[in-house]
Amino acid sequence: MSINWYKYAAPSSFYFLAGKLIPFFTVLAVIFLVAGLYIGFFVAPTDFQQGEAYRIIFIHVPAAWMSMFLYVVMAFWAGIGLAFNTRLSSMFATAIAPTGALFTFIALWTGAWWGKPMWGTWWVWDARLTSELILLFLYIGFMSLQAAIDDPRRADKAGAVIALVGVVNIPIIYFSVQWWNTLHQGASVSVMQSPKMATAMLVGMLVMVLAAWMYSIAVILLRARNIILERESHTSWVAELRGTTR
């Protein structure tokens, strides 16, 4: 399969490509969401330890994973933008940040609402929880830094630096459960070991993860289109869209 990648590296072509892809991912997201919720609520059995409260897992874990994945992806694109001066990748990074922050917030929120019945408290200054909070701060810092700088190119570059620096936090979050003895659950899904939880639970969770992926892609593409339009508003292809020239 040979796709002309360079063609899609131009903001204008990407704009159109994204326009075509969005409906596709939206449909997938809805399908996975419905399936995941069905499995989560009607197939997966009651947990013998936690009762029904564990059903929070179906959003908590996808959200927590997405929050970390998205950060890495964002930092990756921002870094590419900084290194090769490609506008599109920087715009992509900017588009990812709010969604990442949202998932981080959801992970924190659902974690807290899970912690209350399980640990008896909304919040503890435990390593994983704290580092997830830090992740939220990182996202917010990235977004506020970009918002505070008027010149978009400078904002891109400055944001890239902070995004790249913040990547160190990701392994800390991930391994925090191993490094400290904490309240929080250790990894129960891993490639090496056979899963410790019921298959239906696992399947439900994974389907929800897929839904989260599809949703993120769709929403990020939408936002990226906005950013492209805004940044490129003075260019000829936008003028063409407007129908003023042609």
Binding site: I134, A148, I149
Partner: protein, 209 residues
Amino acid sequence: MLAMRRQADVLITLFFFIIVVSLFPLGVGPEMNILRAIAPGVLWVAALLASMLSLGRLFSIDYMDGTLEQLLIAPSPLFLLVLGKMISHWLVSGLPLVLMAPILGIQYDLSLEALGVLTLSLLIGTPILSLIGAIGAALTLGVRGGGVLVSLLVLPLYIPILIFGAGAVEASAAGLGYDAHFSLLGAFLLVSLVFAPWAAAASLRISME
């Protein structure tokens, strides 16, 4: 290079530490067991604050009076100059604390071993604060509301240092091993020593565009 100015600044920070650290017993009351429990936290928080609060001045005075432009067009590699700035920031905001820690620790009735661990953790940890902080300071130069932003950017990166640093002392107090903490801190230090000057130099260039 700016030895004369540095002197005054070191005094400020020393003073700051003494205030923070001595005010607590005044505010908290003199129960020794409480004081002992909070000592590492207080010292580490003081270090963090001292570092963060002096970040504002790290580049902004030079920025305003034009020295920073001269720095950028100096015929020596920028990251070396930036490293120099970072070191002098540490000398001003970190080193005094490391030196004072044993004395202040005694005030809080820490055991000898805890004192040693505390000082060592500060010695490894505070340079990281300066190294990372400089990046944030460079990025927020001349940005609206730079003061909040620099805290917002830098704090998430400071917190792990705080946790590991204070954690080491607590682990030692609890009789647990603290090697893991130290090796992590050391790894952080190395990584940031390699990347931070470079990142801060890039940030400076970006900010001065």
